[in-house]
Symmetry: C2
Subunit: 341 residues, 2 copies
């Protein structure tokens, strides 16, 4: 620990150890050819003074900041919070710091973020876009980027996601297998960039087809956002329509929890009268009543892969030119009480 007001620099360490500044720098950076006793002497000085490298200077010189950004629509959503936590942990192992940004799903915030990347001297970006289209993302410049989530896009960025359509089909198939014939869906969205919703809807339709059930628009509820309140409202709307569902596939767990709330509030028994399945496997669903069946993406793996892919882009100069990679992550169906027989 230093006692004066000014943090010590390489200069101070060098003076104390009786070597040149550069040698200290070499020791700090683990350069190989430093004589053992010199290294020891320098290390001692470092410890004594409590020297800590100045990130700003280092970054100015080497153009690497050791900071990556993670941009998610909202931290309040348990799914994103979980992903964020896992990514922070994964980044830590590479001794990176993660700067977390919230876009709130606003196109403008997402645009600003991508545009303003250079401002904060960020080495790379892990981005879970909601509103932005591929072309806009492409303007991000040369900062390495890994896309998260279900958006299909072919640009200069890697992409980690589960097979959304297949996962949605699995969920719907699970409901059909219970013998339900009026399988509703909550979570459709009609704006163009809502790829997640589109894909899950496609999976839903595919599974219906497969089961020989006709697609009925009256059984599909659209939502603005993927929150509990939207799920609750959508469920209420479905119940008020002529054809009453006996099962509901919700495009995420929050929607499902909201839907269940509405059902129970109206005295509809879950799963006896209406079976419900969600998507994401957030912790809430494991302790709700009834516990929530869901599709569980391999979140941990998603986080790891995202960080690994970014690391590759950052590390190798050779890899940097590699074309964008598309990585699929496994998912699995978790059956709980909300779809029990």
């Amino acid at each position: 620990m230093y006692s004066s007001g000014v943090p010590p620099g390489l200069k101070d360490v060098a003076a104390r150890a009786g070597v040149s500044i550069k040698t200290v720098s070499n020791v700090v950076n683990g350069y190989v050819h430093v004589a053992p006793d010199t290294r020891a002497r320098v290390q001692a000085a470092i410890d004594a003074l409590g020297y800590v490298p100045n990130v700003a200077a280092r970054q100015l010189r080497s153009k690497r900041s050791g900071v990556i950004a993670l941009a998610v629509p909202e931290l309040q959503s348990p799914y994103f919070a979980e992903v964020a936590g896992l990514i922070v942990q994964a980044a830590e192992r590479r001794s990176w710091t993660v700067l977390i940004d919230q876009t709130d799903g606003h196109a403008e915030r997402e645009r600003n973020l991508v545009a303003g990347l250079r401002r904060h001297a960020i080495d790379g970006l892990i981005f879970s876009p909601l509103a932005l289209t591929g072309e806009e993302l492409a303007r991000g410049g040369e900062t390495p980027m890994v896309l998260l989530g279900e958006r299909v896009w072919h640009g200069p960025a890697d992409h980690v996601a589960i097979d959304n359509t297949a996962a949605a089909a699995d969920a719907t198939r699970h409901l059909c297998a219970l013998g339900r014939r009026n399988v509703a869906a909550i979570g459709a969205q009609d704006f163009a960039s809502a790829t997640t919703a589109h894909q899950r809807l496609a999976g839903y339709r595919a599974a219906l087809d497969e089961a020989g059930l006709p697609f009925d628009p009256r059984l599909v509820a659209r939502v603005d956002r993927f929150h509990r309140a939207d799920g609750a409202a959508a469920m209420a709307a479905l119940l008020d329509r002529p054809r009453r569902p006996d099962a509901v596939f919700c495009f995420n767990d929050l929607l499902a929890l909201g839907a269940i709330r509405t059902l129970l509030e109206r005295g509809v028994r879950v799963p006896e009268e209406v079976a419900v399945i969600g998507f994401d496997d957030i912790e809430d669903g494991r302790f709700s009543t009834p516990t929530l069946s869901t599709v569980a993406p391999d979140t941990a793996r998603i986080a790891h892969l995202a960080v690994d892919l970014l690391a590759e882009r950052l590390g190798g100069d050779a890899v940097a030119a590699t074309p964008a990679r598309e990585v699929r992550v496994q998912h699995r169906l978790v059956a709980r009480e909300s779809t029990a027989r």
Copy 2:
């Protein structure tokens, strides 16, 4: 937008505008004495080249990074996720960037964080400590710090919190007012640094006293962490003890949701047989079945105050020397189905 691979610097802008580097710097920083037409010319050059100031260099020179850190035990917890989101928003208005750190409540991680502050050249820290004691925090050096949460501590840092004991007493009082006589508590912790738990327990005892009910250790369940699983396990333990509670005050909403899950699983009706109240007012509780009564801290205000206090410390040189301030934030009781009559 620039087209070459290298971001333009003041130098390039200066060359294009036919002025000196410093003049461009003056324009960028809004220095007053720049002739209007010079300013216009420089601005044009800036726009044309898409110049963006280099943060590293700026920071190296001025020792301000525009980044504050927020350290919370875990993002996965809805309460902290919400606080984090709000703080990010508040910081945005001051055009600060927030670096989010997770400590997982490990003393060592918290220590490293405080110690490693200088590494990342962070202007200030908003910290919600779980494990660290006051003395350890004091070693943080001179980085301005605002403490969040209920920890009592008198050191060189400002502190924003609700009156935890009073809030806990309110919650317990609410249960007593329902006529319940066997009011249990879930969330006690016995390690010394668990101030939150200690304070809430104190409030619980105070309210019992007030209602003329004796304190019974058999009605108090301790937990390791404040998660749903802990609440579920604690409730199970309480139900297995001889004296059966007819009401439970859980030290946070997650514990409460876990407890309710156990109750319903065992066929105990909530709130008829056992009333449950939580703490934090997370969104889950508004859509659970039954909906969860809780104590709602004014989270938005906490976030704002934290950022404001930090801003004051950072801004004024005069204020920087001001002794630590202690700020209390309001809370209010939200009665929902889980404590309905």
